[in-house]
Amino acid sequence: MSAWLTAAITFALACYALASLLVLVRLVRGPSAQDRVFALDLLYFHAILVMLVLGIRHESDVFFEGALLIALFGFVSSSAMAKFILRGEVIE
């Protein structure tokens, strides 16, 4: 692995960390519930990206399955919370 790639991986991970912090500010401050749900969905998405980049960094396939699981759980939890703030119940 060249120095370029290592530097790029570090830069990308730092960018994801910074973006997650900014989204976290919106999650804490967010005026409405839908802002907070959307911020949680974005945090799940950043976790997917971090897992993929860590897979490149460690040259391992295991992180890919983790990323897929995070994507599926993120979809289920975000849609359940969106349904809850839309109707007041998740399953009716």
């Binding site: 530097a7 790029a8 409405s32 749900v37 959307f38 969905d41 997917i48 599926l72």
Partner: protein, 113 residues
């Protein structure tokens, strides 16, 4: 050569994600705030997934296409959650009488009968 391309794709995805997070934090209303994350959802995930495909294909010297599943899953699930949240915001905005929500669409009355 492959490593340079992978590095460029990773840097691009990091920049896209930071720009979308900045937009998500600083735009004034929820409906405006829904737009910048689309930048991360599309360009961010495409850049990282292409980088992953390129890097693992070069590493194992055979096509490794399995990170493509991430793009497929995201392109199916992200519009669903976004639409659900937009409908929730519309519903709650109308219920609270907020000024920035559009009026409800009324069905057209059939005047012939």
């Amino acid at each position: 050569m492959i490593e340079i391309i992978v590095a460029l794709l990773l840097v691009l995805s990091g920049l896209f994600v930071v720009i979308s997070a900045l937009g998500f934090l600083f735009l004034p209303s929820f409906f405006l705030r829904m737009h910048p994350p689309a930048l991360a959802y599309t360009f961010g995930s495409w850049c990282v997934t292409l980088a992953s495909i390129l890097y693992f294909s070069a590493l194992e010297s055979r096509p490794m296409l399995h990170p493509w599943v991430i793009i497929i899953v995201l392109s199916i699930t992200v519009p669903v959650t976004t639409l659900l949240l937009a409908r929730a915001a519309l519903f709650r905005g109308r219920a609270a009488g907020a000024a920035d929500t559009p009026p409800r669409l009324e069905p057209k009355r059939n005047t012939a009968q």
